[in-house]
């Protein structure tokens, strides 16, 4: 299955050039500093993990990347476009998709509709054609339905495709969240704690999905994760945050043996 077409000039190989870069990003809410002078880059096709103790600012970092939060300082460069801040739907249009720690699914809609909503960006027919549901509008619906069904097959949630999302167990909801992000055929996928609240088998399934997405479709993955085993197994490079600052940046082995990281996790005063 070809979930994402290659763009002209894009080489499908392993890790490529820098596709996303943050420089000197600082973010605060009122008096609370969520991020202080964070800089790092993400290379295309790699799996980049962001780890750190609770409250380190990891989710805020993701929110800055796709434009939900505006940083007070610093800038984000994505695919060559430099911006101080992005609007979320612009980020989506540029090819960034994400999942959420607290799911943020559309609880009143079915699984199918939730994932189809992820493809709204690509739907072009206007109001009148949609109202009549003929010709191009109908063809578009069916074409996108086909793609969404492929994603549903990939995530093995066929049996619940017409269930209202609010009624699904947590693990399946997480898959729908992932499916909705995948539906946009993104260049970069931001995953916010995709394994949270899962048991061993569910984590294995989710890890497999993440690896497949990265392997087969070349999607760059940036993921926040607490499970060290998962992080060490899956990721190419790791960024470590603590109290809103970057304290380490490198391969899993480098990071694992960094004293600063060990101190941060053990809670050594600094």
């Amino acid at each position: 299955m070809n979930l994402r077409e290659l763009e002209p000039g894009e080489v499908r190989g392993r890790v490529g050039d820098v596709i996303l870069a943050l420089e000197g990003v600082s973010l605060s809410f009122g008096g609370v500093k969520a991020l202080t002078d964070v800089s790092f880059d993400v290379r295309e096709h790699e799996i980049r993990a962001i780890i750190g103790p609770n409250g380190a600012g990891k989710s805020s970092l993701l929110n800055v990347i796709n434009g939900v939060y505006r940083p007070q300082q610093g800038r984000v460069t994505f695919r060559g476009e430099v911006r101080a801040a992005m609007e979320p739907h612009h980020a989506a249009a540029m090819g960034i998709a994400r999942t959420f720690q607290s799911l943020a699914l559309f609880k009143g809609m079915t699984v199918l509709d939730n994932i189809l909503a992820g493809r709204n960006l690509m739907m072009r027919s206007n109001v009148f054609l949609q109202a009549l549901r003929v010709g191009p509008a109908l063809r578009e619906e069916i074409a996108h339905r086909r793609r969404v069904e492929e994603i549903i097959d990939f995530l093995e949630i066929q049996h619940v495709r017409k269930t209202v999302v609010g009624r699904l167990p947590y693990g399946l909801q997480k898959r729908v969240d992932l499916g909705r992000a995948l539906a946009a055929e993104p260049r970069v996928l931001l995953l916010d704690e995709p394994m949270a609240g899962m048991n061993i088998e569910e984590k294995q399934d989710m890890s497999r999905f993440v690896l497949d997405v990265n392997d087969e479709f070349g999607t760059t993955v940036v993921l926040i994760e607490h499970d060290m085993g998962v992080v060490m197994d899956l990721s190419d490079r790791v960024v470590v945050l603590d109290y809103g600052r970057k304290i380490a940046d490198g391969t899993p082995d480098e990071v694992r043996s960094s004293q600063a990281v060990i101190d941060a996790y053990l809670g050594v005063k600094h």
Binding site: F29, S59, N63, V68, F100, S102
Partner: protein
């Protein structure tokens, strides 16, 4: 008050002052008239605040937007006026108070408790149902005529500052007394909230229902108390407005005006209800006098709402409301 809210309010009053001065010659003859209008506007603003206060109280404590507040005002005034035909004022007042408490208990038991986890819009519609019910009940039991409410409010307008301005300024003593009553009520409520244990419990509930419950605050009783206090506020508002305008159905429509007041002030702020009421009352009066002729009159029907709308565009949570941060 936040910086932007303060700036907005200052700008508003500056604009009013400019409007007052600009079309006029600077002769003394016009200025007193402007002052009269401003004072009149502020006073009617106080009366709006009274009704808004009830709304804010209930929203703060139970998260319910009580659309029946207006109906409560009318019901309280109606009951009082009819009871006063049979018994002295003070006794009637006590009876009405008891009735409002009973009403609060009934609403909590029959409406709030069964709907406790529903969305805001469902609760709002439920209070709409309560409003219709109260209207029907009030008319059924007490009749649908217009009643004059005489609680001894002074009717003679007073002339003040006649040494400073020629002819002095006409002030409605009734409105003045109403403003004083409202002020006393607010002060009493403030004391109640800050100094008593029940007041503290009410503030806890307003902040976080579940947390309050987990420290042993009985949510249901709190709600009965809050609705009773709102009933008391409704009664005072009913007395004041009813004495001024007569007790009739249209009293309820005035209560509808409390909505833009609450919007301006923010749903959860008592000082907001006061400031909002003053701003609305003032804005309405001034707009009717100065802008009205441009539009052919009658703009006070919608001016308050449009004013609230404009304010909201700059500050969607209201002047004193809590800013909502979307956490994803």
């Amino acid at each position: 008050m936040s910086a932007s809210a303060r700036n907005l309010t200052i700008a508003f009053f500056a604009l009013l002052a400019a409007a007052a001065v600009s079309p006029m010659d600077f002769g003394e003859a016009r200025f007193p008239q402007w002052l009269e209008i401003v004072i009149g506007g502020l006073m009617s603003g106080v009366l709006y605040s009274l009704v808004a206060l009830g709304l804010v109280l209930i929203f703060k404590a139970s998260g319910v937007f009580n659309f029946a507040q207006g109906a409560m005002v009318l019901f309280a005034a109606l009951t009082l006026v009819r009871l006063m035909e049979k018994m002295p004022f003070v006794v009637a007042l006590a009876v009405v108070l008891a009735v409002m408490v009973a009403l609060a208990w009934l609403v909590e038991r029959l409406v709030l408790r069964p709907l406790v986890n529903q969305e805001g819009i469902v609760l709002f519609m439920a209070t709409l149902g309560v409003a219709y019910f109260l209207n029907g009940l009030g008319q059924l039991v007490w009749g649908a005529d217009v009643y004059t409410l005489d609680v001894g409010m002074p009717k003679e307008p007073k002339i003040i500052l006649d040494k400073v301005f020629e002819g002095g300024i006409l002030v409605s003593t009734e409105d003045l007394v109403a403003a004083v009553i409202a002020g006393l009520l607010v002060a009493a409520l403030a004391l109640f909230f800050q100094k008593t244990a029940t007041g503290r419990a009410l503030r806890a509930v307003a902040d976080d229902h579940q947390a309050a419950q987990s420290i042993g605050i009985p949510l249901n009783r709190i709600w009965v108390i809050v609705w009773s206090v709102a009933g008391l506020v409704a009664l005072v508002a009913g007395v004041v407005w009813g004495s001024k305008l007569g007790v009739q159905f249209s009293l309820q429509l005035i209560a509808l005006k409390a909505l833009p007041v609450v919007i301006l002030g923010g749903f959860t702020s008592i000082p907001g209800a006061i400031v909002g009421g003053l701003l609305i009352g003032l804005g309405e009066k001034l707009s009717e006098v100065y802008l009205g002729p441009l539009f052919g009159g009658g703009i006070e029907n919608w001016f308050a709402y449009v004013l609230a709308l404009v304010f909201l565009l700059f500050r969607p949570e209201g002047l004193f409301g809590e800013k909502h941060i979307d956490r994803v």
